[in-house]
C-alpha cells in the first residue's frame, strides 16, 4: 500500500517536472518576440522622444526631479540608480539623451540587438528612476517588456541584424534561425508578469465599492482630465454602465486563469484589445493602450505570427509588382 502511495507521489512529481520542463525549456521560434521587439522599441523611442520637449524642466540638472529630490524620493537607495545622477554638464545631459533615443531606435529596428536591447532597458529604467513622480502604467509595462525582450534573441528575425547577416552570407543562402529556449523563457516571463499585472489590477478594483455597484466606468468616463471622446451620453443608460463595469471587472480578474486554455484564450485576448484600445481612444491613453496590447501578443503562437508576417510581406510584394 505504502509502496503504491510512494510511486503515486513519484509519478505525480515526475508529471510536474515534465510539465515544468515543457513549459519553460522547449525551444521556440523568435517570431512573436521579434514583432514585440519592434513595437516595444518604437514605443520606448516615442515615450522618451516626447521627453525631449520638457527634458530640462522635468529631468534637467535643475529640473523638477533634480538629483537631490530624486534621491529623497528613492530613499537614497543605492539600487535605485539613474545615469542622470552622474551627469553635471548640459552637453553630456543632452548628448546622453540623444544617445538613448538612438539606442532605442536601434533596438526597434533590430540593429546590434543584443547590445541595444540591454542598453534600452537600462535607459528606460534610468529615466523612470529619475522622474518617478511623472511615471504611470505605460512606463511600468515598457520597462518589463524591454527587460524580458533584452534577455531573448528577439533580434534574430525581422531585424537589421538578420538582414545584414543574410546579406553577408549571400543572397541565395537560406539562413536558418534556430528555435531557442531563451525565447521560451522570455515569452513565459512576459506572460506570467502580465497575469500578475491583471491579477493585482483586478484585485485592487475589488476593494472599491464603485466596481461592485457597477458605476466605476462612469467615474472614468466623467473624468474631465482623462476624457478625449465624450461618452457622457451614457448617463442616460445607467444599466449599460453597470454591464460594462462588471464585464471589465470580470474580464480582468479572470484573465490570469482564462488566458491559458486554448479554448478561452482568443476570447480573452480579443477582450484585452477592446478594453485597452477603448481606454486609449476614450481616455486619451493611447500609448498605454497600445503597450498593453503589445504585451498581450506574448500569448500569440510564433507559428501564427510568422504566417501573418509572411502573408503581409507577400501581399506587399504583389502590390509592388
Amino acid at each position: 500500500m505504502r509502496e503504491g502511495q510512494g510511486s503515486g507521489v513519484r509519478n505525480w512529481l515526475c508529471l510536474w517536472q515534465e510539465g515544468w520542463n515543457r513549459f519553460w525549456f522547449v525551444p521556440r521560434s523568435p517570431a512573436t518576440l521579434a514583432v514585440m521587439r519592434i513595437c516595444t522599441g518604437m514605443m520606448l523611442f516615442y515615450t522618451h522622444g516626447v521627453w525631449t520637449l520638457e527634458l530640462d524642466s522635468f529631468l534637467g540638472l535643475h529640473g523638477i526631479f533634480e538629483s537631490q529630490f530624486a534621491n529623497e524620493v528613492n530613499g537614497h537607495s543605492p539600487f535605485v540608480w539613474t545615469h542622470f545622477a552622474w551627469i553635471d554638464h548640459p552637453a553630456w545631459f543632452w548628448g546622453t539623451h540623444y544617445f538613448a533615443l538612438a539606442v532605442m531606435l536601434a533596438f526597434a529596428f533590430g540593429f546590434k540587438t543584443r547590445v541595444s536591447g540591454v542598453l534600452s532597458v537600462l535607459f528606460a529604467i534610468s529615466y523612470a528612476h529619475r522622474a518617478g513622480g511623472a511615471m504611470f502604467g505605460l512606463d511600468q509595462i515598457n520597462c518589463f517588456l524591454a527587460l524580458y525582450l533584452a534577455i531573448s534573441p528577439c533580434g534574430a528575425l525581422y531585424s537589421l541584424d538578420s538582414f545584414l547577416a543574410q546579406k553577408g552570407e549571400g543572397a541565395n543562402t537560406n539562413r536558418e534561425i534556430p528555435n531557442s529556449v531563451m525565447v521560451t523563457l522570455a515569452t513565459r516571463l512576459i506572460q506570467l508578469h502580465l497575469c500578475v499585472v491583471y491579477l493585482f489590477a483586478g484585485m485592487g478594483k475589488l476593494q472599491g465599492p464603485a466596481w461592485w455597484d457597477g458605476t466605476a466606468i462612469w467615474g472614468a468616463i466623467a473624468s474631465h482630465e482623462y476624457q478625449t471622446i465624450d461618452l457622457t451620453f451614457l448617463s442616460h443608460w445607467p444599466l449599460l454602465i453597470n454591464v460594462i463595469t462588471l464585464a471589465a471587472l470580470a474580464w480582468e480578474c479572470s484573465y490570469p486563469f482564462m488566458v491559458w486554455p486554448r479554448l478561452t484564450r482568443p476570447i480573452w485576448l480579443l477582450m484585452a484589445v477592446a478594453v485597452h484600445l477603448g481606454i486609449g481612444l476614450f481616455m486619451g491613453m493611447m500609448t498605454f493602450g497600445i503597450i498593453m496590447v503589445v504585451a498581450n501578443l506574448a500569448f500569440i503562437e510564433p507559428a501564427h505570427t510568422s504566417r501573418f508576417i509572411e502573408h503581409c510581406v507577400s501581399r506587399a510584394q504583389t502590390r509592388v509588382e
Binding site: A31, Q140, A156, K205, G219
Partner: protein, 277 residues
C-alpha cells in the same frame, strides 16, 4: 527573408511553417538537467519578487508581505518592478489640478494650470503633467498640520495607556509600532511635498519669467451620473469646489546658487487647508 528551422542539435518540430503549434506537445526539452535546475531556481526567485512587490508597495499591506519585500526590494526597485498595478483601483477618483499665478517684475501676471490640454501636447506630455499634479496631491494628502499631529499623538498615547492598563502589552506595542511607521511616512511626505512644490515653482517662474508665484492644488470631483444626465457639463466650476483646494503657498525666484544656502519655504499642509483625503 530568413527561414526558421529547428536547431540541428535538438529534434524540435518546426513551428514556423504553418505546422500546428506542436513543439510544446512534443515535449522536446533542451538544456541539461543541471542547467535547467539552476535556471528554474532563478525563475522561481524572480517570479516570487514579481508577486511580492505589488502586495507590499500599496496599502493595505500585510506584515508578511512587507517582511518578504525587504530582502527582494534591491532587485525589484533596481529593475523598476516595484509597482502595485492598481490601475483605476480601488476606483476612479477625482483628479487634481495645480493652479498658479506668476507675477512678473513689470507688475503683470500670468495665470495657468497643469495639466492643461491646450498647452501640453502631445497627449503623452499632458499625462506627464497630469501625473505630476497627482504626485503633488499624493504627498499633500499624507501630511497633517501641527494641531492635528498633536491630537493624533494624544489619541495614540491614551490608547497605548489603556492597553497597558489592561495588561495588553502586545497590542500596545503594535499600536506604538504603527504610530511610528505612520509618523515616518508623514514626515517623509511633508519633506517630499516641500521639495517638489519648490522645484515646480522654480520651473514655472523660469518658464514665465516671473519673480514670484502663488500656487494651489484644486480637486475636480467626479460629477454624478444624474447631474450629467440633467445637462450639467464636466467642466462645470461646481465640480472644482474651493473648500477642497489645498494652498501650496507663495514663492519667489531663486538661482541655483542662492537655493543651495537658502532654506526651502514651508508649505501649508493639506489638512490645514481643509483638503486632502
Amino acid at each position: 527573408m530568413a527561414r526558421h528551422k529547428p536547431n540541428s542539435a535538438i529534434p524540435i518540430p518546426d513551428v514556423s511553417r504553418g505546422v500546428p503549434p506542436a513543439a510544446e506537445a512534443a515535449g522536446v526539452v533542451a538544456w541539461s538537467g543541471t542547467k535547467r535546475f539552476w535556471v528554474s531556481v532563478a525563475l522561481l526567485l524572480h517570479l516570487a519578487c514579481v508577486i511580492i512587490a505589488p502586495m507590499a508597495v500599496v496599502d493595505p499591506r500585510s506584515d508578511i508581505a512587507s517582511l518578504l519585500h525587504q530582502p527582494v526590494s534591491p532587485w525589484t526597485r533596481g529593475l523598476f518592478l516595484d509597482h502595485g498595478y492598481r490601475f483605476f483601483a480601488p476606483e476612479p477618483g477625482p483628479s487634481h489640478i495645480v493652479e498658479y499665478e506668476v507675477f512678473r517684475a513689470d507688475g503683470s501676471s500670468v495665470k495657468g494650470h497643469f495639466p492643461d490640454r491646450d498647452q501640453h501636447w502631445p497627449r503623452l506630455l499632458y499625462h506627464r503633467w497630469f501625473m505630476l499634479s497627482e504626485t503633488v496631491f499624493q504627498h499633500a494628502s499624507m501630511t497633517l498640520d501641527e494641531k492635528q499631529l498633536k491630537e493624533w499623538e494624544s489619541e495614540v498615547q491614551s490608547e497605548i495607556k489603556s492597553l497597558v492598563d489592561s495588561d495588553d502589552v502586545r497590542n500596545a506595542d503594535r499600536v506604538q509600532f504603527d504610530y511610528q511607521r505612520a509618523m515616518q511616512d508623514h514626515q517623509r511626505a511633508q519633506s517630499l511635498l516641500r521639495q517638489l512644490v519648490q522645484q515646480i515653482k522654480q520651473d514655472l517662474l523660469k518658464r514665465h519669467n516671473g519673480v514670484s508665484i502663488k500656487m494651489r492644488l484644486a480637486t475636480r470631483v467626479i460629477p454624478s451620473l444624474y447631474d450629467v444626465a440633467r445637462g450639467r457639463k464636466l467642466d462645470d466650476p461646481r465640480y472644482l469646489p474651493d473648500e477642497a483646494a489645498i494652498e501650496l503657498g507663495e514663492g519667489s525666484r531663486v538661482t541655483p546658487e542662492v537655493e543651495a544656502i537658502a532654506p526651502l519655504e514651508p508649505v501649508p499642509s493639506a489638512a490645514a487647508s481643509g483638503g486632502g483625503e
